[in-house]
């Protein structure tokens, strides 16, 4: 009897994670002389280890009430619920707390920006299984929304607005290849035997273990790959050349059609900052006091740009806020803008802030924003 009491004491300690290696060995020995206790010990252990039911629904409601309370207390706190997975851990040490970097001082009140959660859309054919091998999975984000995609191999892709990521049903089994249109931040689990390949319309990116951003919107002037950590190998298809990036470098490739277009639009104009080379490897842009590069700020829920043409900035704004932008004063298109906005900044707040720093006017007409 004394001996079985010892058994229960040791089992209790083992379950609670309090048993020493000696005690675990002692428990093993005791079990040998008490085979009759095996089943009940197994039952107690299984009961102990049973996963608890998730109570997310109740927690979600409780969190909404809490967020509401914090807002009432005067904290700029979002009430919006739903998965908010766009955080990426900082990869560089933080020197100072991030502040809004913005030309002009502006008090920004925080409002909710709805982030739509887009789950991988599987076609019905996929489900029926008949054409399964031929059907690709794809995840798309609308303008104004971003999403996180967890790939079967453990790699994670954050998709910016207006982007599509397509991958094979065999992804992770026979290959690790995806196709991207738009912008994605990749955190790839490295696998020596199965390289992770990203195809865009103009370049292919092969991961060598790593975190990086790929921006390849069809309507942008450039296609860019920005490396944060690790190493990537890029093949520029039309040039047939390969480049390897070091951390904090980006490869910028001028998109052919648009590049030719802009050349035509500026006849006889002296070479200016706008005349970008066809291809360049540059350093990522960091703002003072910031540890996150401008190129990847979107993945941290921040809308950011540094010394970018107004016409390019409006493309970013358009995707971010899901509005159409038009210039009625075309000379403004070549203005260069810098700005960074915290999460939850509204379109109106962003436009007011920019208007304060640069001389222009704007008007919001429903879904359209006119700049003059």
């Amino acid at each position: 009897m004394m001996q079985t009491d010892r058994l229960w004491t040791l089992l209790g300690r083992k379950l609670a994670g309090e048993a020493s290696p000696e005690e675990l060995a002692e428990l093993e020995d005791l079990l040998k002389v008490h085979p009759e206790a095996h089943l009940s010990i197994q039952a107690v252990t299984e009961t102990w280890d049973e996963p608890l039911p998730a109570e997310d629904q109740e927690a979600t409601q409780a969190y909404e009430r809490l967020a509401h309370r914090l807002k009432d207390l005067g904290f700029g706190f979002r009430e919006e619920e739903g998965p908010q997975e766009l955080y990426l851990p900082a990869t560089r040490p933080l020197r100072r707390r991030n502040k809004v970097v913005l030309v002009g001082v502006l008090a920004i009140t925080v409002l909710a920006v709805a982030i739509w959660w887009v789950s991988p859309a599987r076609s019905s054919a996929d489900r029926s299984g008949r054409e399964a091998s031929a059907v690709k999975s794809s995840v798309s984000t609308r303008y104004g929304s971003r999403s996180r995609v967890d790939l079967p191999d453990g790699s994670v892709v954050w998709l910016n607005a207006g982007s599509t990521l397509t991958y094979d049903p065999q992804f992770g089994v026979t290959n690790r290849e995806v196709r991207l249109s738009g912008e994605g931040y990749f955190k790839v689990v490295h696998n020596e035997n199965k390289p992770f390949l990203i195809h865009t319309s103009v370049m292919d990116i092969r991961d060598l273990g790593t975190q990086f951003n790929v921006k390849c919107y069809p309507d942008d002037r450039t296609t860019e790959t920005s490396l944060v950590e690790g190493s990537v190998e890029i093949t520029v298809r039309r040039r047939g050349e390969r480049y390897t990036l070091k951390p904090n470098q980006k490869l910028v490739l001028l998109n052919e059609a648009i590049g030719a277009d802009s050349g035509r639009a500026a006849p006889g104009k002296a070479p200016s900052k706008d005349d970008e080379p066809i291809m360049a490897i540059r350093s990522l842009t960091y703002k003072a006091d910031d540890t996150v590069a401008v190129e990847t700020a979107w993945a941290y829920n921040r809308l950011s740009f540094a010394d970018e043409r107004f016409s390019e900035v409006t493309k970013k704004l358009s995707r971010w806020f899901n509005r159409e932008f038009a210039f009625s004063n075309h000379s403004l298109e070549d203005e260069r803008l810098t700005g960074s906005f915290p999460p939850q900044t509204t379109l109106e707040q962003a436009m007011e802030a920019l208007k304060y720093g640069y001389r222009f006017n704007y008007e919001i007409r429903g879904e359209k924003v006119i700049i003059y």
Binding site: G12, L39, E55, A62, L73
Partner: protein, 190 residues
Amino acid sequence: MGHQDIPELQRRIAIYEDEIAYRDLFFLLYAPLKRFAQTFLKSPEISEEVVADVFVEIWTRRARLLEIEDLKMYLYISVRNGALRRMQQARRQPVLSLDEISVELISGDSTPEEALLTSELRLRIEQAVNELPPRCKLIYKLAKEDRLKYREISRLLHIQIKTIDHQLATAVKKIAHAVQFRLKKKTDQI
């Protein structure tokens, strides 16, 4: 996301004012903390309020959050204190009396593949757990569901580690006996 991530969440909240980390922390601990509060307060609404009070304080004092050495314990202790204050307000016994609490355990997710834990056995175990004296049951619950260590339970309930060790052995023994009894009866029938 698990309890091992709490220090990282704490850091993100303190340094980045990271609302997502705050939300993750809430989702990680809301359910166990509320159940813990409910042990003393019974009312689910008041229990939620007590937990929310603690989380409001966390956000209010986020800039100094890194001064807290063990955030998980801090939250449990704050919830305990909050619950005791509420009891005082309701003119109930303000002292933590472990004999007057009502401990509710949640039943785990059943996995159909498990051959041993039939629904009959499960019921049997549940019954044995429910028959445990409140103090013993609370210790069992905190060790099992909340995964608290002996020293954490000791700090939280102001009881000696020796007592916890003994109470948990008692709980395990009673549950094991309930199962054994069941198995034996079944064998006898055959």
